[in-house]
Each structure stands twice: as structure tokens, then as C-alpha cells.
Subunit: 395 residues, 2 copies
């Protein structure tokens, strides 16, 4: 591919697609151009002079198009595009984390089978080059954990609550008004977006693919004033943390709110920013921080994936070839803060020990240890009831 | 080089060389081994079972050695080793920032001429993958600045002063006792080490090579209690900051103490850590943080360079091919805090405006704007006199 001009067939022209187009028009890359854009609704007015089409065949049938960039919302449609590109031997960049989280295992096989590259650095943490760094730079490192704030919308809301004393509802509305949260914010606020990114990151950090339904994720939508007060009394902040961590020769994954103390790096990750802490045996720890979303940062990250192909870059998935693969488990203890209003909620979980208990007419909470496995088994009901839970680390 | 075993000829077995050896023996890399180690003093007792030699010909003459790693202190000797390796077509990794800062221009040409790779990510910021990221990931980014704390020893000293109220002398002694500062700490404390790293980073960030003697660098060795009190009164901390920054179509470089306010990321970079803030037009800003020195972190970074070669990785120096190259300048204003004891010191510089002036029998200071060019011209005398100066940004 080196020294060949990239003629891009672009699918989708939302925030990121537009961001990519604008970044491309501001910098002068003679060897990269968007040849055609496939969108769902051709009648919609667009403020860009590009050849639009609503027919995918106009891209796959164009012999001059030697590169596909997929930036659409619909995960299943994105999957079909990426799969078709790989099978046709056309290198492809995707930004669809949901699609990747569900299909990465198969897409890795397809890359090998058809010797065609799929890149997706922009899919996890926007402008922070987490995947590329894990893949390239930490490849000798005996990694022990990757933890981070991977979702900007929920972090924006939590920042407004803890820094500016906003209520959850007001913070959510502000996030929506500023475009940080979708009109249906479930993906962001209930931890799904973080979960998808965590799955992708884990493949590159630990060489293990785990399906979304095998991982416990719990968001911040049931957070209330009592939880905020509890955190503040403890001089902590609540952050939504995605976590991949070694425990012996096992691997533990979760997306949960954490009560974070001041001395932790991610305590200071504010607003719509993302931050990732990578710990390894030799490096001690590394912290990367930047914009996780938005048209320009993400468009620019997509462009990094595109130009990487000018140098024939592909992911090697080196850790998947490790001799001793880590086994995924949820059978580990986790210390949580658990706020509830009715004793029946407390009966949902078998606390192994309770070190703190508070009861009042307004609300109750306990601090104690449960098995992550049980949280996962009870995930549905935990999400529905009038409760809130958060990891509460000792330090 | 792919799928070929790397037989390494290693020069030097100090902290980093030993770190590399230990990292290598803890992880299981079947395709990388240290074949022979060339050291200055063969009689010195070493606690490693490796074939040592004091004759470079034992490495260059060994046909099985297909990779050179240079980790010695002596910059001129390091230069000769790296040059010989490149001319002989043997890929080489170097950790010698001083050597690179003085010879990078020629070494880039030699790489092209002999189609042989030189990698040196470990030379700037130890475990933080700054160079690789600038080279690979930010390559489409219209970068505006790269600023950072690039020297762990001086930062350790400043942290002890500002966090624990230690005197400069005590902090320096502690740094030396803990092995963070050399017995002759000039390189670290007077900003030379940061300067060398800045030069290397600038080549990859902006495609411009500037010689060390063309850049103003000023360290922290004349810092005294009055300066510390001034900083604390202003709720700032003094940090030694290396800075590469665009000013229009010009490029400005410097290494100077900065009075850093709380809201800046590098305010919180403590102890022996390094932190780098990369700003770009589309990414807004990115922050990377980690261990900048020490045997394991740096040895591990060297190993990342080594294994990158298993995948034929080389720096592309893409920005050096930019159509419009930035022109280096020192002809820019800089707002400084300038502490002195004698009026003759104030006469050294033509302040363009002075917004603050304090005079007492113990010490005096002004806050005002000077040309960076003049600081550079007067560097010798500024370093000698009983004065201290620091960049004092408006916010």
C-alpha cells in the first residue's frame, strides 16, 4: 500500500465523519482523499461538497476505491460493511465500538484469513492512542491493569455534580444541550459505551476477548444526593471506571462507579475528558489523558488510522499468541458502597462482610464485600431497583 | 528482519543496560537475546552471567550479531558506535540523549543513506512513549506545542521543596542518595538533560533540528528561599519546563523554570515522574505521564525499541518532509520573574515592561517582559550571577 494514493469510500457523515472531512480539508494530504460518501438519507441537506450516495454498491463497485472508512451508528450495518470490506481485501477503518465489542473475535480471524487490515484506534477513547500504544509500545510489558474513564458524557455529568454542585438531572440536561450526551443517554450513562471500549482495549492489553454479556457493567443513572454526600464526606469523587485487571493468572473485567480518592490520577479527569492508567511490572504506571469524543478529536484519530495504512500498519494482536492465556473470571471479591431504601434490597446480595452500616428513614447504606460474580448474576434487578452501588477501594 | 532472531551486541552495562538484561530475563522472548556485552572495565565484578568483552571488535566482528544496543554514558563514543552500526547496515538502538541531540541531523541522513534503522524512544522520557506517539499517532495533527517536565531528578528536588518544605540543598542530597541525581548533577539541574530531550522531541514533533547551543536553557541551581516564597504566595509551583511551541510560522524552543499555576496538568507531576502535554489544533490537548528514568522503566523502553524491529519498525521522520518548514526563532517576548540582589543584574536585561517590582535589603525582584533572544545571548552571565529567573505565565 505504501506510496499508493488512498481513495476512501466513507460510510456515514455524522459528527465523526464530518470531523474527518473537515480535518482532511484543513491539512494538505495529497495522498488521501474521500472519493464517495454513503449515507442513509440522500435528501438531507449537507454543508459539504462531496459525492454522496445512498447505495453501498457505489462504493464497493468502484474499482478506484481502495480503502473503506465506516463511521455509522448502526452496529449491525457497520458489521456487514466491515466484513464485506475484509472479504473483498479492502483495508477498513471502523469507529463503531459496539460493533467491534460484539464481533471482534470474528473480525480478527477475517483479517488473518483475508490478509487485510482493520484499524479502529478511534473507537476507544477518541484522541487518546490507547490501542496503538498497547499494541506497539507496551508489548514487552508484563501488564497488570488498564483502568480508565472511557466515557466523556458520563464523566461530564459527574464533574458538574462534584465540582459545581449540580443535580444529576440538571447535569444530564446540560450535557445533552452541549452535545456531550445523546437524547437517549443510556449507552453512555449506564456504562455500555465504556463496556464496549473496555472489551476492545482488553483484546490488545491482555489478548483475551470477552463477550459483552459476560461482563458486569453498572452505570450512574440511579445516583442520588445521598450518594454524592457520602462521597464528599469521604473526600472522594464518584467516577465511572472501566477496569481490566490481572488477579494471579486470571483476568477480571468490570465497568462500575468507583469512589475515587484524591491521590488517584483519574480523580482529576474532569468534564468530557478521558483518562487511562496503564500499570505494568516494569513501567510502574503510565497515565494518558485527552479528549475522548467530539468530531475533531475523533475525526483526527480516524485520520491517524487512515494514514497509518500509508505505511502498511496493521495490528499484530501479539498478546493473543501468548503461551499462557489469562482465564477470564468474575469469581473475585469486590468492596462496595451499597445504598438502598428497603431491606429487601440488602437481601439481593450475600455480603461476605459488612464494615459499615447506616440506616435512616431517608436512606440506608452498607459498605462491604460481595462477589463480582453475584453482581453480574443480579445485574438486571440491581439496575432496576432504587439502589446505587459503587466500588469503594480501601485507598 | 521479521521472524529473524535478534542477536544483540550490547554496549554498556550501567543502570539501563542492567535493567534491560533483567527485564529480558523476566519475560520470555525466544527471538531476542543478548549475545555479547562490551564494557569499559572487564575487571569490574558484575552480577550477570553474560559474555562480557572490552573490545568493540568482538561485537562488530561477530557475524551472528544482527542488532546493536548502545547504552553507554560517553556521548562521543556512543556516536562512533551508532555511526559504525548504521554504516555497517546493522540496526541500532541508542539511549544517549546527549549524543542524539548533537548528531541527530547526521544520523537521520545516515539512516536514509544506508537504509538502516536507528531507534531511540528510551532516550526521551524513559517509559513514556513520546517519540513513537509523535511519529506515529500525531502525524496528521497540526501540532501547536509540546511542553513537559522531561527530567526526573530536578523534578524530584522541586517536589521535595514545594511539598515537604525541604531546602534546595537537602532535596539535592536526598535525590543523590536515592540515585535520582548523579554525583555531578549539573546535567539534570541546569537543564541540559531536558534540553537534549527537547531537541530530539522537536525533530519528531515539528520536523526541525536545532543545535543545543542555539537554545536558551536555564536550570534551578540558583533557586533560593525567596523564590520559593514568591511562588507559594502566588499559589504556584516552580517546575523545570522544556517547551517547543509554534508562534505563527516560527518555532520557539526553551528550557526554563516556570511558575506553574494549579490548573495546569504539569503542576501535579511530582517526584521523579515526567509529564508531557501535547497540544494540537484538532486534539485540543493530550497529557502523558510516567516514569522518566530508572533501570526497569528505561530498560523496558529500550526493549520496546528492540522488539519494534521484529516488525521492521523505523522512524519515518514524516514532518521533515513538510512543504513549509517552521523557522526557528528566539526573537519572541517572554514574561519572567527575575530575582536579583544588585542593581547591576537588572541592567543585564532590557525589560520591555515591568509590571511588578519589589526591593528590600535581602533581595529584589521584578516581573516583566524580555526577549528570549537576549536571555540566550546573556546565558553565561545569567547562570553565574546571584540571580534566578523563571517564566511567569499570565495564567
Amino acid at each position: 500500500m505504501s506510496n499508493t494514493k488512498l481513495n476512501i469510500g466513507l460510510f456515514g457523515f455524522g459528527t465523526v465523519g464530518k470531523g474527518l472531512h473537515e480535518v482532511l480539508s484543513k491539512i494538505n494530504l495529497t495522498d488521501v482523499q474521500i472519493k464517495r460518501v454513503c449515507i442513509r438519507d440522500k435528501s438531507k441537506k449537507r454543508d459539504a461538497l462531496l459525492p454522496f450516495t445512498d447505495n453501498a454498491e457505489d462504493i464497493f463497485g468502484d474499482k478506484e476505491i481502495n480503502f473503506i472508512v465506516e463511521l455509522i451508528d448502526d452496529a449491525e450495518a457497520a458489521y456487514l460493511i466491515v466484513k464485506r470490506a475484509l472479504i473483498s481485501g479492502i483495508p477498513v477503518v471502523s469507529g463503531n465500538k459496539k460493533m467491534l465489542a460484539y464481533h471482534l473475535d470474528e473480525l480478527i480471524s477475517l483479517q488473518k484469513q483475508y490478509k487485510t487490515a482493520l484499524l479502529y484506534d478511534a473507537s476507544a477513547c477518541g484522541s487518546i492512542p490507547v490501542i496503538r500504544n498497547l499494541e506497539e509500545y507496551y508489548n514487552n510489558e508484563l501488564l497488570t491493569s488498564v483502568k480508565g474513564i472511557l466515557n466523556g458524557s458520563s464523566n461530564f455529568i459527574l464533574s458538574k455534580i462534584f465540582n459545581e454542585g449540580m443535580s444529576y438531572q440538571d447535569a444530564l440536561k446540560l450535557a445533552q444541550r452541549l452535545g456531550f450526551a445523546e437524547s437517549n443517554p443510556t449507552l453512555d450513562i449506564d456504562g455500555w459505551d465504556s463496556l464496549f471500549k473496555l472489551i476492545i482495549i482488553t483484546v490488545h492489553a491482555f489478548g483475551v476477548y470477552v463477550r459483552p454479556d459476560e461482563i458486569f457493567n453498572y452505570g450512574i443513572s440511579s445516583l442520588n444526593d445521598n450518594d454524592i454526600k457520602f462521597a464528599e464526606k469521604e473526600q472522594r469523587r464518584i467516577k465511572l471506571v472501566a477496569c481490566a485487571e490481572k488477579a494471579g493468572d486470571k483476568l477480571v473485567l468490570s465497568v462500575m462507579p468507583h469512589l475515587i480518592s484524591k491521590q488517584k490520577y483519574i480523580y482529576s479527569v474532569e468534564d468530557e475528558f478521558n483518562g487511562v492508567v496503564i500499570k505494568g511490572l516494569f513501567y510502574y504506571k503510565q497515565f494518558m489523558f485527552g479528549r475522548g469524543a467530539g468530531g475533531y478529536p475523533t475525526g483526527s484519530a480516524v485520520l491517524s488510522d487512515i494514514t497509518a495504512r500509508l505505511y502498511d500498519y496493521k495490528y499484530e494482536y501479539k498478546r493473543q499468541n501468548a503461551v499462557r492465556k489469562l482465564e477470564y473470571t468474575t469469581d473475585v471479591p469486590v468492596r462496595i458502597y451499597f445504598r438502598y431504601s428497603d431491606d429487601k434490597h440488602l437481601q439481593l446480595l450475600d455480603f461476605e462482610n459488612i464494615t459499615e452500616k447506616y440506616v435512616s428513614r431517608q436512606f440506608c447504606y452498607v459498605v462491604g464485600t460481595v462477589r463480582l460474580k453475584q453482581l453480574h448474576q443480579k445485574a438486571e434487578v440491581l439496575r432496576k431497583e432504587d439502589i446505587f452501588l459503587s466500588v469503594y477501594p480501601e485507598n
